[in-house]
Symmetry: C2
Subunit: 267 residues, 2 copies
Amino acid sequence: MTIAFQGEPGAYSEAAAHRFAPSADVLPCRSFEDVFTAVVSGRALYGILPMENSVGGSIHRNYDLLVEHELPIVGEVELAVDHCLLGRPGAKLADIRTVFSHPQALAQCEEYLRSLGAVEIVAVYDTAGGAKMVADGSRADAGAVASRRAAELFADGVQDYASNLTRFVLISRSLDSVADANKTSLVFALKSKPGALFRALSCFALRDINLTKLESRPIRGRPWEYMFYVDVDISRHALEYGRAVTQLGEFTQWVRTLGSYRAADKR
Amino acid sequence: MTIAFQGEPGAYSEAAAHRFAPSADVLPCRSFEDVFTAVVSGRALYGILPMENSVGGSIHRNYDLLVEHELPIVGEVELAVDHCLLGRPGAKLADIRTVFSHPQALAQCEEYLRSLGAVEIVAVYDTAGGAKMVADGSRADAGAVASRRAAELFADGVQDYASNLTRFVLISRSLDSVADANKTSLVFALKSKPGALFRALSCFALRDINLTKLESRPIRGRPWEYMFYVDVDISRHALEYGRAVTQLGEFTQWVRTLGSYRAADKR
């Protein structure tokens, strides 16, 4: 079983894939689009996508791709971001003069890196590759910001905000339903007018269906229209979900169920 | 009049401050917390904070700071992110071997930078400082990713996603109400149970108050409680708003009006 992910080996998406299926093979992809292509073409059975981060918010790009493609969500994983400063075995933190990492990781650790003083910061395309380069190299004054791995660990939790969780979903080409699904993600569009969202939410409230996420997003190029991301605590195969979505169709411009799956274990 | 912003001169937040008040003095701050401190201490009359980006989503950190502090939102600005690749006057794009920028900007231009081929990417703390360094320096093979400015422009719109808007708000120490306010931001908390949000939204729907943003966010450390960010198209001084918030108090754990202000011009 192969899971496609965006990034290089050692990326957080790869760790999320192994959290979902510890023995899975993984397929690194350059972009999120390439993750979809890998699944459509059958090169991977699953793809994994980060959807939201507890510091940065929802990743709208991946919601757009889910709406564009027909691939259903079939699973969910939550992962804590834990950036570490790593160095060469035997090296000392005080000797570090250059730090390598991916721009996103550098941005999330800006305060910590500043606290190191006059250190040169070098962006690389791959946190894991930066760590490997430092670990395998001969420079005792080089460090890398990456997830925990084989190199010497100088400091962990070096990201600026301690509570930094990312939620990932798994996509698949298979239309088989997930037997133990207890959560469903959907997207719908509304014209902006008073009461529009209230009417839409009545479809769930009148059937005692619990919402665990609701987010509005303006639709670019269509002023006064909004897209809504909604997660509900029910399988799409439950009778009440079907009734809710049928009624929702009356009150919205369009509705798309993105998938029904087992909710991530909360850790 | 002074506006405090997070970042260095030339940052997008500084451009947003000047969009709000073209002749304002600006005060660069190291962190978002420092922006609040500058306003509380009176060193700045206003502070400006990015709240959400059309690619990256809401900046939860700044919502947290708005809830922690007592400073009201008094204005709003929208700004298109337009990263450019800049170089030394007289230099050529084909000669570029090194590109300097802030990690966030590098991350947003990853695809473009990759397309340049074997170019060394160097992270600096400040897009504007990187651009100045390149423009003033003697290296014809050095470039910077930054907003448009005095250096030679090689390419604009080099960010990976064309539609990249950031919404900023202005905070102030003054409790004077904004005379022409037509938009209000508020935050409230709900226990997660079916129908809880539906009841809360009835306060607005029953009074024909239009919502322009609604976003749920789990409250860390309090499983099954959610915070909601809401923007409504009405002044907090309107009678109907007061009635809506009074009723909202019955259905929520707590409510905080973050401020009432003139909505940003849509460009």
